[in-house]
Subunit: 215 residues, 2 copies
Amino acid sequence: MARQGPSKREAIVEAAKALLWERGYEATSPRDVLARSGAGQGSLYHHFPGKREVAAAALAEMAAEEIGAVDALFGAPAPPLARVRAYLTREREALRGCRLARLANEAAMEEPALRAPVAAYVGRIQAALRGCLEEARAAGTLAATVEPGSLAALLIAAVEGGYVLARVHWDPGAMRAALDGAVQVLDAVSRPEGAAPPSRPPAPARGSASGSGPA
Amino acid sequence: MARQGPSKREAIVEAAKALLWERGYEATSPRDVLARSGAGQGSLYHHFPGKREVAAAALAEMAAEEIGAVDALFGAPAPPLARVRAYLTREREALRGCRLARLANEAAMEEPALRAPVAAYVGRIQAALRGCLEEARAAGTLAATVEPGSLAALLIAAVEGGYVLARVHWDPGAMRAALDGAVQVLDAVSRPEGAAPPSRPPAPARGSASGSGPA
DNA sequence: GTCTATAGAACGATAGAC
DNA sequence: GTCTATCGTTCTATAGAC
């Protein structure tokens, strides 16, 4: 059940992966998939019950690929905040949108089988970011003002929102600006890495949230 | 050419507004619009060349409405950073997605007539945020570590990305977490408003970033 | 396992009566 | 200006030969 040449099934899933990124779920028809894959009608419905299951298989593969890439990035031997910066400044094709989260606003997201791989992907990134930020906090390189979990949520939102801005303005620079802001803000709440670990608390300065806002 | 009772044209545009938010552009058919509006086929094609122009009219109205709302919010008589916080913590129906930017990943965004209202909406918000942040900077309540323009881009991206996260995790809390991070970060780079304007540099306390970051 | 042929419904748009 | 009727195409899916 494994050793086989490149079957039509694989060709169909590959085509679906490309088309889901290019056009999304609703705008991709089984005919499009077949045309690009070179397979006939019957092959698709032999291997899959229907369009939804093809998309689910394609999304699962895409999520696995992208999760592998981000795991490699976050597994790099660098200080935690450097890994966060590396993720934020990673090269991206802003106008193409996020390969997985571009489906966020389609009705397909109400189907668990389609939403799950997308959620797993962004969830994994957010968890990795949070891990780095907690590590930095423990090392004393992240200010105590900001909760690592909240900052991680902000950063993944900045990336996904950056894609949205780029598409809406049809300008990759719109995404760059947002991620620029993210890096600046990250720098503003951090201290140089590689410095001596803080045996004493972060100094009297630096308002914990209780002292800064009107709240 | 104005004084008329509620025409079918208006009913069609109203229906399109609702459906574009609910389902997006591709997934909304002229028949759906007609069914919801109570109009017949001919009415739509009498008033508009086709589906695209109906959507353009609907998006223009939606953008005007939403821009009016955000202008009211940002025009409120409050300190600049309070206005920014008010925008960030505004009530939102996270799972419905952004009324306009939900279309970001549709092929329709490649058509200027459809992209323009969406871009105008997010552009207006970003400009308002930037204005507030520049004002705060001038008043000395915003740290010099962060450029107002970059921070504004980050914040609008956080909101739009927050919608994406909520949809992808099917959990409004995902958006709340991102915006929580945004507020925390904003507090971290700001000093209390209402305090005396800074005739001297930000004081050693209350991190203006000079005391806190590597910058 | 792969193919061609085709079904039944919905798509965006048009025709033409009133 | 509004309506019903219908066009030709594409949609997702099935049938059935090879």
